[in-house]
Subunit: 747 residues, 2 copies
């Protein structure tokens, strides 16, 4: 048994919790989420409704119900079930011998609980999952066992009384009987989208309610004899199937048994896991915690069509089920290294939203592609102008994430370049990449200012990764990232001179782009070896450690940042910013510079974003700062397990799984501790934590999956794929056959 | 008798108030201020101390006592006097038959009050003034009359218990007897400046106290027989006289009687008034109100050496006794038209502070002259980074008046150009003007950004005259004003090619300046005939009338502006901005455009700056919008008489005389209603208010003072100076001999 947190353990690959209090329902519902990249079913129990935060969030169902927040909808719950005895739900009795599990390898969740019905012990077990083999299908099996003979009523049905974060999305919900089961249909509040849910179970007495349709079935239990009931839910929307009702009926009709569905899903899960099966020996808690994070990263990632990874996946509607820069910078690496097809799908999503990005640019007086800070289906900007509020006055605050955090465009460009470079997918570059890169460079060229006085281009009025400091100039992260993308775009255009398209730069544009690439200001390393985060940053008040600034809070829910929060006139960072630059561009600065900046910035960083720990862990691991690295990795791996982050900031609910952190945890282990990189081929400079005996890591290389086992002294190829793999270790090139080793010393 | 306000009347040129309550002491002390351009003695009474807001503010005594606000010091009060009866001040008795006066033509103030001393009626009269003939001298005469014989003690002395707004400036105050009187010396808190005050009066029993030195004199009054006592104060600082003590002693020693001093001062006042003697016939209240404003503008203006006009003159220490753009834009016109030597002196002050402006530019990474937003002696920036506070949270607010309100530099340049053009003072241009203009243009060139995308230079991140909107781009006022100055600088450089100096632009600079003059973005007149105040202004919430926005206040003392005040995301202006542009550059836009913009912007303007009404009155008068013009002129003329403005904003005391409004009131009458302008010669297109019969106005033209009497149909030269005056009326040129008339019709 591996202890992970209070009442939270693991055995093998199974997460176990033996303690339940309703107030943990929000967080446990997220942590025990079942999903498959198409939908997520919150880890609540069969009898749960809105007040227990029950919700099934389905991809591509964006809807704006409150006039402010567009978000994915929670749909009608077709796995609703309850057990009645003497006209009351048995779950209103005290829960005994409670145990819930989630098998990370198979995505199967169970709940077992025993209820005392005036002397009769009734044990209820539910087992359910979101099928990885058939993304629309959620099967459940209920097993009832009683210590004495007892008569009960089993309710199974579809319930529309689900948790919805910002307004009611489901309008005109209608319930009906269909062949073999029940159905519910609804139209989303302000869209044409129609969602349909079907439920398959043997029907008995049908009861229609305002928000539900139920089948009531009398059940007589005999002592100690388990009785089993199945219930299958199918869901889709007209965005996936124009004739959604028919699709649901057909799917339900063809649906095999729970066990057959389970077997198919287990097999699909095995395939999904294969490239991501990292084994950490010597620290079982790290191993399982990494699995938890990888599991959540995987179920948050749409594979069925180009759609974004939501910043909270399908665990909650917060962050609008939409992509941020998280997708390219935090979630992409695991796919770039282990399953490039998924990386490509995510980039196709960004290609698909190019028109939205172009419209956004135009709206603000720019050209090219200004990607949405919060990007849903179309790429139009979902980020409202006002979202936090000044809790002291109750007034809304204008934060400019949507207007000034322009690095999003360059981050997308960076991901395109990374993917093409690493997998030499020139077809992608020609079909999509060049166009995206050209429009991103065009945006940059329309966004820069040339300052005659300093004879250079500058990027004025931005917000860097450290979101507390808005309205800053020449943010080092933004400028370097923009410069990298522009320079590489020009190179790609040169390489693919035969490609034609209206998106290509005119001769005049090309001249300008080249001039910008030559004269864009890149904040230099100063005499102290430091890079200034933005112009004037070093003049701000220095508070070390940064946490001390929190003493200035007047209200715990205050927003810390722009325009007048407690950090604004200090050097306190929300999260990695210059360190973020090192994380993705280690090639630009030598180790000494990176170490000096790490030493300067880390104590000034509040780490009040879940994006901060992985970045620090990754950079520290690369630099051989193993204590720092391990500390931040631990924080990252356990963010959702210990659930230490605030669920509300500036009055806005931000709870749910930290999907970027989930994905980046993989990157910390691979790019950080294993020292994996790509530089015209695989690079590996491991810095294993002392606590680890070995790390086994699959990587997708030259079209196939290879596996490497890294100890403190050797790197061994443990896969059987024929052929040699070229790998650079400490600047030396090695050619590794399958099942061979090479010794290394830590750089 | 002319009624001006509650309990406030005028007879002839004398302001009279017959009602006194201590809580009006702040405002009445300002309104009844005595002064001479060197110092101001607040209109309080002889027995007044700190708690009655007594203060004598002396020029060139800047000191920072609280670590935040540098301000002029209030010095020891050498006109302190009190009358004791039975060991108590007679002024603690109820005041009867109170009457205070201020003669606007002579600057002489009186207070008369009768006190019942258990049946004996004692009438005390004090008469005092700040000598216009000798700026260091303040004479006072006290007359006591009793209805019955009574024995009193007259105290005369020097009192250091004076009002000081921000901290105690007077350190180590020492008191002493000197030949013929008393003296007090003090060192200012954080400067080397030493101030010395002397008092001349017959000495009797000397009493030294912690904060004062007094002479106690027994006085026996006989019934109905007035007895008179004189008291003369002299003050200077080591900034004026290195041996200040000696100077004070010498001056006191040579000092003639009260009556002789009075006669000399009256004569000096007559000379001062001569160029500003405007007569309005048909509206006596307007006439006197204009006199009140002109009086205060005159006593606020240093003439003895190049020093700034404080934004509150010497009436209070608020606004730091320092110059703002007010000086060039609001106070300068009356001098430009009526007494150019004073205008020149003010410009020499700006020349003297050029090094401060260059240092400020350098500090912020620019070149050339970035004039201080709040400019004291040296031109270093006196405006703190934080001055208002968020009254809801108590947190200081960072407002960027000192960093973003860059139009100050161009306003100075504009005044230089105006002065030289109007008085053809090419010597000034060669000796000072070219250098100032070059450094101002150099600043502009270092401050602009060239936006390749729009192929133009822009001025990014500024604060225009409407101070509630900070961090805006391409403020029309700023851009047009900057452009005008740059263009005219290039022309002046061309005209004076033989002038040499290190300040001249290099060839490279010259090319850049010419390019900026050609391609600086000037916000155009749009399809609706409107000029956008700044980029994106029209997208903000429109609230008409602007006052409605005040309903959103949570606290009456809230600051309305940046970063999160109630006006920030609305079109509500603090004060004239685009209209301000018309006020000083009517030549740039035709009447139709000006009218359309007036109609758009005026209802969106809160007029929460005393700078707003005169600008609106002036522009409206020029446009023939006489009701509008008259309404705003009335508001302007009575700001300090009715005292309707808030004394505190965002937690900061801003009370005192509105010196810019005082000066600009003259401009409203002359440039507005008389339609006076200078365009290669005198222009006059009058739009007299219906209520006025005539307006008589002196103007300094071709080296001499001329006077014009304007009625609704004719313009008459009423002076006797020989020679013709050329004048354009409705685009027709006339040559007016002395004592001749020309008819006109209103344009």
């Amino acid at each position: 048994m591996i202890q992970l947190g209070p009442h939270l353990t693991a055995e093998g690959t199974t997460l176990i919790k033996t303690h339940y209090t309703p107030k943990q329902a929000i967080n446990d519902g997220s942590l025990f989420l079942m999903g498959n990249g198409y939908l997520g079913m919150r880890g609540t129990f069969m009898e749960a409704k809105k007040d227990a935060y029950a919700g099934i969030i389905v991809s591509d169902t964006w809807d704006n119900a409150d006039g402010k927040w567009e978000e994915l909808s929670t749909v009608m719950n077709g796995l609703f079930a309850d057990i009645m005895w003497n006209d009351a739900s048995v779950f209103t009795r005290p829960w005994q011998d409670f145990k819930r599990t989630l098998d990370l390898k198979t995505g199967i969740a169970t709940r077992e609980v025993t209820l005392d019905l005036d002397g009769t012990q009734l044990t209820v077990k539910e087992e359910k999952f979101a099928s990885m083999a058939d993304r629309h299908t959620l099967p459940m099996k209920i097993t009832l066992t009683a210590s004495r003979a007892i008569d009960l009523t089993l309710i199974q049905g579809i319930d529309a009384d689900v948790w919805s974060l910002n307004g009611t999305h489901l309008k005109d919900v209608s319930f009906s009987e269909i062949p073999g089961g029940l159905a519910a249909e609804a139209t989303l509040s302000n869209a044409d989208t129609h969602v349909v849910v079907g439920m398959k179970a043997p029907l008995h007495t049908i009861v229609k309610k305002a928000h539900a349709i139920h089948s009531h079935r009398a059940v007589s239990l005999t002592p100690d004899t388990p009785v089993t009931f199945e219930q299958i839910m199918v869901v889709t929307s007209t965005n996936d199937h124009p004739n959604a009702s028919q699709f649901v009926q057909d799917t339900l009709h063809a649906c095999p048994s729970f066990d057959a569905l389970k077997e198919a899903s287990i097999q699909a899960w095995e395939t999904i896991w294969r490239p991501f099966n990292i084994t950490i020996e010597g620290a079982k808690d790290d191993h399982v915690a990494l699995m938890v994070n990888t599991y959540h990263a995987l179920i948050a990632t749409p594979r069925h069509k180009p759609l974004p990874i939501g910043a909270r996946g399908f665990s909650a509607q917060s962050y609008q089920g939409a992509a941020f820069w998280d997708q390219e910078i935090y979630n992409m690496p695991m796919y770039l290294y282990a399953e490039p097809e998924v990386a490509k799908n995510l980039l196709l999503y960004r290609y698909q939203t190019l028109s939205g990005a172009k419209e956004k640019a135009k709206k603000h007086g720019f050209e090219g592609a200004f990607y949405a800070w919060i990007s849903g289906k179309t790429g139009e900007e979902l980020c409202p102008d006002f979202f936090f509020k000044d809790v002291l006055s109750g007034r809304p605050i204008r934060n400019h994430f949507n207007l000034w955090q322009i690095h999003i465009s360059f981050d997308v460009g960076f991901a395109v370049l990374r993917y093409v470079e690493q997998h030499q997918d020139h077809e992608f570059m020609r079909d999509y990449g060049l166009e995206m890169l050209s429009e991103i460079s065009r945006f940059l060229a329309s966004r820069v200012a040339y300052i005659p006085h300093r004879e250079r281009y500058e990027i004025i009025r931005v917000q860097g990764p450290d979101e507390y400091h808005e309205n800053v100039d020449n943010n080092a992260f933004t400028n370097y990232q923009a410069h990298y993308v522009l320079k590489e775009t020009l190179r790609a255009l040169e390489q693919h001179r035969d490609v034609e398209g209206a998106f290509l730069p005119t001769a005049k544009e090309r001249t300008l782009w080249e001039d910008i690439a030559k004269r864009l200001y890149l904040p230099p390393v100063n005499a102290d070896g430091l890079i200034e985060q933005f112009d004037g940053y070093f003049d701000l008040e220095s508070i070390v450690p940064a946490e001390k600034v929190t003493e200035r809070l007047q209200d715990p829910e205050e927003y810390y940042g722009y325009p007048n929060g407690i950090t604004v006139f200090t050097q306190c960072l929300k999260q990695a910013d210059t360190i973020q630059l090192f994380s993705i561009h280690p090639e630009l600065f030598d180790e000494k510079v990176q170490k000096a900046n790490y030493a300067y910035y880390e104590p000034r960083t509040l780490h009040f974003s879940s994006l901060s720990p992985t970045t620090h862990a990754l950079v520290a691991a690369r630099l051989g700062l193993l204590d720092e690295a391990y500390k931040h990795m631990k924080k990252a791996l356990f963010i959702d397990l210990l659930n230490t982050n605030e669920a509300i900031s500036g009055g806005t609910f931000i709870g749910g799984m930290h999907t970027a952190n989930n994905g980046a945890s993989w990157a910390v282990v691979a790019e950080g501790f294993a020292g994996v990189a790509y530089d015209h081929g695989l690079v590996m400079n491991p810095h294993l934590p002392e606590a680890w005996e070995s790390l086994t890591l699959p990587l997708f290389l030259d079209g196939a999956l290879r596996t490497f086992k890294i100890t403190h002294t050797t790197i061994t190829r443990t896969d059987d794929t024929p052929g040699r793999v070229t790998i650079q270790i400490n600047q030396q090139t090695h050619h590794l056959e399958a099942q061979t080793s090479v010794p290394y010393t830590r750089s």
